[in-house]
Symmetry: none
């Protein structure tokens, strides 16, 4: 084996170990850490992030990549070695363009702003959060300026962090295509709004029994207690320390079963992806999901395409009726299924139905483009938010807690992340179309509570490759095409025709 | 401010941040981590530990300490600045005298010997453990030789890792004094063995109710939910990420209330110490307890002197009776109090009472001194252990599992650690004597459930100083003396006279 390659792997393994420590410090902060630990945690995180960055963006790694370039070019494109050199080169070049001090400052600000966001959201107090947001916008503009090619959109440079190669122009085209299909669909649905009654889902669902039921569903799908955890946090997320150490979180609203249940299935989609990476890629930058678009395709596929599907509930509904006789014992399956798929413009993105969800994302995409482009200042954000909520969803925002303060992303500097949710929806439908074509009896298996066929197909097609291919490359390998909203629109037309049909 | 000093603090802050990450990785491994995460966790920990060591033992820190020596010498001894330079110098010199390869070999051997110890203990098979112990003894002799001044005892160099300045000669004097008091006391107690019946404590104590009761006690003493956590682990411990982020663990035996309860109070003693360090010392090597002897004095003081005292239970016993009517509703307070203080020579150190505990430590001290000094070879260890158990405690050891294989310490190379347990007992009584002299109404306050007076006195006397002073210096500042077994013996005589008295 090439000695330079071995040395590169050794150095990258250190960087990954620092990344694992960072992931744990962040997970712990949001799930376990006592409140008074936050200032010290911000310092520790800043140091770990900076050390990881310094070691990654080192001259030695640059020299090794230079030396390995010709060697890797002669290897098959999809080999682990060529992929590692290629992906590391791309990330190294980006890393070298951002000063370590700036990266550390963003991490430090994110830790403080995250805590401030929690408090501000509780109190519905945007002005308390505003200075943190202003600081973060300024830092991320500075960050984007390090990466953007001259004359290009600063926002494109941020998109690239979550979905390499995605541009604001391409995202705009995707949203345009979706909007032109979704708006008439939403119109037809609203004409038949009376066909679905969500009130049948009302009940009292104690948190401990919700947790038990969620875990029983998760375990059936592929959650394994030796490799996964499920905890509580203010904002649900999934993270991982290693392939065998996946951490998911949720939150329980005792008046609503659906939030935690579908949230858990969503996070498990992420978790299965990250736990399924080829062990040969451990402690390399390839040992992760390749892009947020692909990541969200996994979570959305499990949450919506599978988890809100009729076959899934043909299996689980009797179990749900047993776990919560009140209100489900006498409620017919189809009435339940329609209710969990009710379409209704609403305030909260993470609780939105599949049809209106992308409109929530669209408004965030437009607003964050404005913030990063400088056309919108944080002080004007609540008003801009509320105006778009009226325009796209036809509803009035009663307070900032249920408006502009609802998501954690901006406090963490994650501008450019939101569009990947919609991209994930689009890709999920493309993958679902392929899986149905390639796995005989896929829906019958789901109806029998057998999730291994789909899990295995996704593992071979997506999970196993880790970050060897970009999202775009991976999608082309699996479907022969790029991201295409058509299967997603067709899926929504078909499903919601059935949900709201006669 | 001196620029070299600021730079030193900056570098040391990084090292502390790596230490905080290490503490979290270790805590998580023992409390939260899914089983399949362990291989990756070992890699991450090894990297974090190595990076912390490399950054601490760097040439730059050495040059800064050289430059700062004369400056610090002109500052008051107890100033933060002089203390930081002095303590860092001492630790730096030790760090530089041990080759990194030897440290790595000790860590590697500890990992292997730890696994071997678990298996050997299960099978009560000392010969299977012996080669690992031989290897570890050889390595720790080599390690001690790097640190010991010419002509001094190798074992002293090991003691210094846990209690700077403590020598085998001083420890021997302490144990001699203790033995001459404890042996006759134990004899008198055994004559009155029938006065105390432990069986009155038998009952069923569900884990969730134990946890609730323990937390109510801990909160009364000083556990605060914004700065502390209490979780479950196989072996109870306390660790901290920062002054405001203390993590304690316990384990619940549903047939025995006392283990978790007194274990929790013990760990809280450590936690209060580490949470009380002056915030001005944050992110420096002074931001911790100064030595194991002082640390154990805190945990033992709260666990035994306070927590097993009659005033404490005058306040808490009615609450315990309410929490566990069965078996306590009709059991008189004094009978309960005698039962939790029952003295009985037994095989296992961690289950021993206050009187016999130090005899367990004494025999370990003598045996490990022999191992490191070369007077005792590991092959002869079981026989030597069993002979001393007969001599000091009057009991026969039925097998090595309950004898020489019971403690993990030697497999980890922790020779020199045991004596600090007894030193902690001794210091606890000295501190208690001072606290009673300086805090009017101390016992009346405890009897009223008011722990702030003792906590505040300990904070000012001990906690606040962090690691600025050695244990010896600190004790001299507070009591005007060195470690002195007399108050401890007087305390035991008084207490056990009452427990076993007529």
């Amino acid at each position: 084996m090439n000695a330079d390659y071995l040395r590169l792997r050794e150095l990258l393994a250190e960087v990954q170990d620092l990344g694992a420590a960072q992931a744990l410090l962040e997970w712990d902060q949001r799930t376990m850490m006592p409140a008074r630990g936050s200032a010290a945690r911000a310092e520790a995180l800043a140091t770990i992030v900076r050390l990881g960055f310094e070691r990654f963006a080192s001259d030695e790694i640059g020299a090794l990549l230079d030396a390995l370039g010709p060697w890797a070019a002669d290897l098959p494109y999809e080999s682990d070695e060529a992929s590692l050199v290629r992906v590391t080169r791309r990330e190294y070049d980006k890393a070298r363009r951002v000063p370590a001090t700036l990266k550390a400052e963003i991490a430090r600000t994110a830790a403080i702003a995250g805590d401030a966001w929690i408090e501000a959201r509780k109190a519905s107090d945007f002005p308390a959060f505003r200075p943190h947001l202003e600081r973060m916008v300024a830092l991320k503009r500075e960050y984007a300026a390090c990466l953007a090619a001259p004359g290009t959109d600063l926002y494109d440079a941020l998109l690239d962090d979550y979905e390499p190669g995605l541009t604001a122009a391409a995202a705009t085209r995707m949203f345009d295509a979706l909007r032109s299909g979704l708006v008439p669909l939403l119109g037809r649905i609203r004409e038949r709004a009376g066909a679905v009654d969500e009130r049948v889902l009302a009940g009292r669902f104690p948190a401990d029994r919700q947790r038990a039921f969620c875990l029983s569903v998760l375990r059936a799908i592929g959650f394994d207690d030796d490799g996964f955890r499920l905890d509580v946090s203010a904002h649900p997320f999934e993270t991982r320390m290693a392939a065998g150490d996946v951490r998911m979180t949720t939150r329980y609203d005792e008046g609503r079963l659906a939030d935690a249940l579908f949230g858990c299935i969503h996070e498990l989609g992420h978790g299965l992806y990250e736990s399924g990476v080829d062990p040969a890629l451990a402690r390399t930058p390839l040992d992760r999901g390749t892009s947020m678009g692909i990541h969200e395709s996994q979570s959305r596929l499990w949450e919506n395409v599978v988890g809100r599907g009729l076959p899934f509930w043909r299996f689980f509904y009797p179990k749900l009726q047993e776990a919560f006789p009140e209100p489900f014992a006498c409620l017919p399956l189809e009435t339940f299924w329609r209710a969990i798929n009710r379409v209704e413009p609403s305030l909260i993105r993470v609780e939105a139905d599949e049809v209106t969800y992308n409109l929530h994302v669209l408004l965030r995409f437009e607003l964050e483009r404005g913030l990063i482009g400088g056309d919108l200042v944080p002080a004007d954000l609540p008003a801009a938010w509320n105006a778009r909520m009226r325009e796209y969803l036809g509803i009035a925002v009663p307070d900032d807690r249920r408006g502009v303060l609802q998501d954690i992303h901006w406090s963490q500097g994650d501008f450019g992340y939101f569009p990947t949710y919609t991209l994930g929806n689009v890709i999920a439908s493309q993958l679902w179309e392929r899986a149905r074509a390639e796995v005989p009896g896929l829906e019958a298996a789901i109806e029998a509570g057998e999730f291994a066929p789909l899990r295995r197909w996704l593992h071979a097609a997506i999970h196993h490759h880790g970050a060897k291919f970009t999202g775009e490359e991976l999608l082309a390998r699996v479907t022969g095409r790029g991201a295409d909203p058509a299967p997603y629109l067709a899926y929504l037309e078909g499903k919601y025709g059935a949900v709201y049909g006669g």
